[in-house]
Amino acid sequence: MSIRSVLIYTIFERFWHWAQVTLILTMLISGFAIHGINQWMSFDEAVTLHTLAALALLTLWVLATFWLFTTGNWKHYLPTAAGLGQVVRFYSYGIFKGERHPYRKAYWRKHNPLQAIAYLLLKSILFPLIWVSGIVYLFYFAWGDTPGAAVWLGRVALIHTATAYAILAFVIVHVYMLTIGHSFVEHVTPMLTGFDEVELNAEEEAYLIKDEPNHIR
């Protein structure tokens, strides 16, 4: 076993991540501007920005979903109970005792069990809720004539808004987590360069050196 610097975030993954950061922040700011929480832009600018960012984000999600399933990367998001208790114990107790993070990033598993569950919930519940409600809202012009449409639009908007708050809370926790353990910069760097310190077994190391020499430093 040795710790090596390995390319674990491919160029597409990094693009996906940062494009998502930009688009989600744009959507949060413009969305809450439409809702009347902030007045940082005019209403029509907010609607335009929100709509265009939504279409871009949907396209990105289609690409990412395709990528996840064709490359097998979806396996990273499978939930596991193994080690979950340790990670939870670490964040709520061990961290204050100066303990080391119990999780070691593996080549085949880049998320710790808590992360995996968090991302799975985000991807399987919050994201579908927000984009299904968003698309239904966006296409109101097509179903606005059905009886009770205005009442339903209110419900759709309610789901959309509630989910937006939850996603914002996720963003806050996500950014805060970057300050835990290594420095903030050390946490962000892998998402820029793609390389992170990963524990490799001998076979993995040999494979990478021989077959993917560009993926290991």
Binding site: F43, D44, V47, T48, F96, A150
Partner: protein
């Protein structure tokens, strides 16, 4: 000039001049001066005949009906057509409620009723001589062609009966009309022709509608983008398209939501809606904003955004009228008081003995509501409960659910006016007449109401009072240039213009306060949780380090 100043002297000297001064301000109707291009009158362009060359129009003419005979000698079918239109009948039977509407029947909350006061009010009837029930509505010679088609600007009308002695000023010192010259001048009506009556509804300039004032004779572009000579120079008939002397655009049967859109040449000419030219997808850039605005067309009338305020252009409208103060006299004579100077500098009366107290306003933000084009009228025979005050004279109908309605702007007119206390009905008031019962002369409202009701065999308890009424006037003129259209946040805001309109989810206005509260608790809880987690890490790191130092010291 001499006659004019003569009139002015009489007007100033006589205390009762309030009425005639305003009533006459609409006559004569001068054509647009210095206006090189003729006003646009829809599909009709005119110009195929020079009326000064017609033998029949050489004159001389003794009176209006003689001119009309001459007109009809060539326009053989026009008389028949004309007898059917509302300018002639002043009557409209609602196909939905069967109610008899139109000026002939309705009570309004301005001068209250034309019925029984035709001697004065029917000045604006497109005919000659309607002063009482004996008027012959089948006689084509009584049609007044000139009031709409005069282009000399010298034609005028006087009340059809003499009225009270004090009203004689209305007939004095008027210049003689050259009817032959006027008859030879005829052409398609211009804004000033229609405006002579329609700008002066309710008894004065812009009093009634709020969006129809003398400012529209020569409107700057920012007042009315269609009617302005700097815009498209539309005559009224450019939109109120005419066929056989029937005009598109009924006040009593409004098309509140036109889904047919623009007609190709030869297609429909029966509507005056915005959509009939602009289609129902009028915002054309294809941008997200324009697409979104086009979706608004289904639920928001064009007028709502594109007429940001009414009574623009320097001419005020009356918003509130109080008949309770009418009838005060000084030395036994009626009087009037100035008290409002409007945008164009003109003084407006805020009190008249003959009418009561007025409140004016300009650049007014309309009230808004779902409107399906129909009104429910409180007519003279409608019984109401006084507890429901203010009584709507014309409650506009519609809702989000009916599929025919859109959110429309209205002028809301509030009035204290006489009513029958015993029966709970509105009343016809006898204002104008040569008799001793006419309010405009004797200032006795009790007598005027009793006479007004008796004349039409209407039940009257004998006891009148005053109650509050409201009426609603759909705003549709004074369309501003697109750069002056309402911004989104005028409505998409918690205290916006549509704050009281129900039946829609309006982002920026509507929110579930529990969701917002929970959301805020979640966000600030997460922030607070993260911060306290970070603080605890800081503290523990400090403690752990001290512990480590102590252990280290201990080792030594």
């Amino acid at each position: 000039m001499h006659t004019l100043s003569g009139i002015r002297v009489i007007l100033t000297l006589m205390l009762l001049t309030a009425l005639p001064a305003q009533a006459r301000s609409n006559w004569p109707t001068p054509p647009i001066e210095g206006d090189a291009a003729a006003q646009v009158s829809g599909p009709l362009t005119g110009g195929s005949a020079d009326h000064s060359k017609f033998e029949a129009l050489k004159g001389p003419f003794a009176d209006g009906p003689e001119v009309t005979k001459a007109c009809l000698s060539c326009h053989t079918e026009s008389g028949k057509h004309f007898l059917k239109n509302i300018h002639w009948t002043w009557e409209y039977t609602s196909p939905e409620t069967g109610q008899k509407l139109g000026k002939k029947h309705l009570i309004n909350n301005f001068c209250t009723n034309a019925r029984g006061n035709e001697g004065m009010c029917a000045q604006c009837h497109a005919g000659y001589g309607w002063k009482d029930e004996t008027f012959d509505f089948t006689n084509q010679d009584n049609i007044d062609c000139l009031v709409c088609h005069d282009h000399t600007g010298t034609y005028y009308k006087t009340p059809n009966s003499k009225g009270n002695k004090a009203c004689t000023v209305m007939f004095e010192g008027l210049p003689a009309m050259d009817l032959a010259k006027i008859a030879q001048s005829v052409q398609l009506p211009e804004r000033a022709n229609c405006g002579a009556c329609h700008f002066n509804g309710g008894g004065g300039d812009n009093v009634k509608h709020g969006d129809l004032s003398s400012a529209l004779k020569h409107p700057p572009r920012d007042l009315d983008v269609h009617m302005s000579p700097n815009g498209q120079n539309f005559a009224c008939t450019a939109c109120h398209v005419t066929r056989h002397h029937i005009w598109a655009g009924s006040r009593y049967d409004v098309i509140a939501k036109d889904t047919a859109g623009a007609g190709r040449p030869g297609q429909r000419r029966d509507v005056a809606t915005c959509e009939s030219c602009h289609t129902d997808a009028p915002h054309q850039s294809g941008s997200v904003e324009h697409r979104k605005l086009n979706h608004h067309v289904a639920s928001v009338a064009c007028q709502t955004c594109h007429i940001p305020r009414f009574a623009r252009g320097g001419v005020a409208t009356i918003m509130d009228w109080d008949w309770r103060t009418a009838g005060k006299t000084k030395n036994g004579e009626g009087y009037h008081e100035h008290g409002y100077t409007q945008g164009n500098g003109e003084e407006r009366y805020t009190y008249k003995s003959i009418k009561g107290t007025f409140t004016y306003d300009e650049n007014v933000i309309p009230t808004y509501g779902w409107f399906n084009g129909q009104m429910r009228y409180t007519t003279v025979d409608t019984h109401f409960d006084v507890k429901d005050e203010p009584i709507p004279i014309n409650a506009y109908l519609g809702s989000r659910a009916d599929g025919r309605s859109r959110i429309w702007p209205f002028k809301r007119m509030h009035t204290w006016q006489p009513f029958d206390m015993g029966n709970g009905t509105l009343v016809y008031t006898h204002l104008w007449g040569e008799d001793t019962d006419a309010f405009w002369g004797n200032y006795d409202m009790g007598k005027a109401v009793a006479r007004g009701m008796k004349e039409f065999n209407l039940p009257y308890s004998g006891e009148f009072g005053y109650l509050q009424t409201v009426s609603y006037w759909p705003i549709t003129h004074m369309v501003a240039p697109k750069e002056d259209a309402l911004g989104c946040r005028e409505c998409h805001a918690t205290e916006g213009r549509l704050s009281s309109v129900s039946g829609v989810y309006l982002p920026g206005r509507d929110r579930n306060r529990w969701v917002d509260l929970a959301g805020m608790i979640l966000i600030f809880g997460t922030l607070g949780g993260s911060l306290s987690h970070a603080a605890m890490r800081g503290v523990s790191r400090f403690k752990n380090r001290r512990q480590a130092n102590q252990d280290h010291t201990g080792d030594n």
